[in-house]
């Protein structure tokens, strides 16, 4: 069967799409910002990935939607939660993965998986958005940085300050207060990263920390966060430049299984 499959991941801030060839080679991918019209954004994400793959719509046999906006992927044949998708995607990129950590814009997940990439157990941030990507976003903003800059800056810290507030809104005032007390922004950033690493570890311990650990989601592109997690965990953390696409990739893989009559 010469089937091309696609996965569309509609997150809270970005839409991602991955187009997979029959040998599970990535033929094309796309990343775009989500706006007010999610249905259209999903369409666009697919079109962009198809353009990247030099393919046209009829050549795709199966489309899977995932992410918060998964039910808006009207043109798809299957919806799967991003938890199952991240599990499958991490297994694909790093087959030894047993624990997936995904820090996204709105939530953080720790997913324990087996050797086939099936979810064994998972835990997500409770109660509120404490410790999510949004936390970094807001604090970067309060310090006057772009969220892309803060990871490398945090690595230059000499002495991380202690950030205790887990509430995103209050962390912002905590950050502002440190600034007014003359603390080095780098040290504050290091403190913020350490604080998220700590919250994340707490989630990971709920499902059990077991190597290999694969770090995914938007925040995984932040090297300061990778460093902070590694330091807190004491074991290396797999990170791939494709991490952001893991949900979409996992969705495509789920679609392929479904198409071939597999477990999905």
């Amino acid at each position: 069967m010469t089937a091309v499959v696609a996965g569309v991941d509609i997150g809270s801030t970005t839409a991602k799409c991955v187009v997979l060839g029959e040998d599970s080679r990535i033929l094309g991918k796309s990343l775009s910002v989500v706006g007010v019209d999610i249905v259209k954004d999903a369409e666009r994400a697919l079109e962009a990935a198809l353009a990247d793959a030099h393919l046209s719509r009829p050549e795709v046999s199966f489309i899977t939607g995932t992410g918060y906006g998964r039910y808006k992927v009207y043109f798809g044949q299957l919806v799967v939660t991003e938890i199952s998708c991240h599990a499958r995607g991490a297994n694909f990129l790093f087959p030894g993965t047993r624990l997936v950590v995904d820090i996204g814009g709105q939530d953080t997940k720790a997913i324990r998986i087996d050797d086939k990439g099936e979810v064994v157990d998972f835990a997500m941030n409770d109660k509120c958005a404490a410790g999510t990507g949004r936390f970094l976003d807001v604090c970067a903003n309060a310090l006057g940085y772009d969220v892309g800059e803060i990871g490398p800056l945090s690595l230059q810290a000499r002495r991380a300050v202690k950030v205790t507030s887990t509430c995103t809104v209050f962390a912002e005032s905590e950050v502002t207060s440190y600034v007014s007390r003359g603390k080095d922004p780098k040290d504050i950033l290091a403190g913020l990263h350490a604080s998220i690493a700590n919250r994340t570890l707490s989630l990971m311990q709920r499902v059990g920390v077991e190597p290999e650990v694969t770090f995914t989601g938007g925040v995984s592109q932040n090297e300061g966060m990778v460093h902070a997690l590694h330091r807190r965990l004491g074991v290396p953390v797999n990170v791939s430049p494709l991490s952001q696409y893991l949900g979409a990739l996992g969705a495509a893989l789920h679609g392929r299984e479904r198409l071939s009559g597999g477990a999905a």
Binding site: T81, S84, E118, V119
Partner: protein
Amino acid sequence: MSDVVSAPAVSGGVSRSFLRDARGLQRKLVEEYYGAFASVDQPRRPVAYMLVGGNLTEILRSFGYDVVFPEIVALNCAIKHQSLENILHAESLGYGLDVCGYVKNDLGLQDLGGKTSFGQIPRPDLLVCSFSGCYVYVKWWEALAESYGAPLFMFDVPYMREETPRQEDIAYLVSQLWELVHLLEKRTGRAFDMNELKRVLAESRRAEDGWVEFLRAGRLRPSPIEAYFESIFYMFPINVLRGTPGAADFYDVVNEEVRARVRDGNYPLPEEKFRVLVEGVPPYTNYRTFWDFFRKWGAVSVVATYPKVGGLFDRGFRHDPSRPFESIAEYSLGAYVNQSWPLRRKIIADYVKEYQADAVIIHGIKSCRSFTAGQGDLRDWLIHDQGVPTLYIESDHQDPRYFAPAQIKNRMDAFFESLEQRRAVAAAAGAAPG
């Protein structure tokens, strides 16, 4: 009074007769109960406020009291989306963001005059606080005593740390029960009538038998009952109307209907894909939404801990007319949240086996620390020591501000998805040749 609390309509592939008779009768009982309070100016009988855990309905009933359970009033408000207004009012009185939603709903409602869409809630003549399993009960009744000036009887119930209570515990409780009897004699001018109490206890016992028969139907495969979402409605008679013939008759109707369901193949869902145990208090404000998250995946709760807050009848306890005071004392000790964590863990483990549950869903609520503090550890124990897939989610039972539908749905979807995946993998492995 057409606008009363009732079970939500069940949609999608469910026979229309499902829940019909019992639900109609339940609605009627609720209507009659609140309707009896309609005339606040001339209450026919004195009113006692009581708490569900360890309640002393039988004794109060034997003295001709009407009993009001503010917890149940509050949950009815929440189901009917009236809780937030009361909660906000209580917050303006100074009750903080982290005070139990039941307390805030009730005290807010009382301060606003006690008017609900299902009837006027009468003022209390007596406040009977059964301190059984919930510390907030004590604080709540203190606040009521302060605002109403009604006398408060504190019934102090020791926490259960061993499966069998100590003799000293029973003696302490029986002594307090006699003190209550003397107080009631003084207040009503009536002499205590032991025969009347025994008669009431016998009715309670009959209702308890019926209730247990209903709960145990969850052991069948497929289960003809929804042990969480459906039970919540059938808890009303066992908690509020216990000791009346109406309560006991009610369960006869329910059980007749359950037997008919089995006979006709009329089940809660067209296909019972997952049998789950639910631990924790339901999010009443988003009850229907929450139920939908289960139904979507073919998940039926076959057993739940929440319906046991009024007593663990299914574990063998019955009110006993031959040992009136002792059995009431044992009842008060036996509320689910009055059991220590080692006992609670054992109950849950037993349930999982007895009801062949595939998974456990824990719903922790912000309001109730008694129920919730330690549920994370329970999750850990179930997964790692018992090998039972378990999902832990948090919201609130009274305060809709803490119910985040998108987040909860995502967790439920992911959980059932992974169960389904694992099941498919296991089936594929089982089917594979060799």
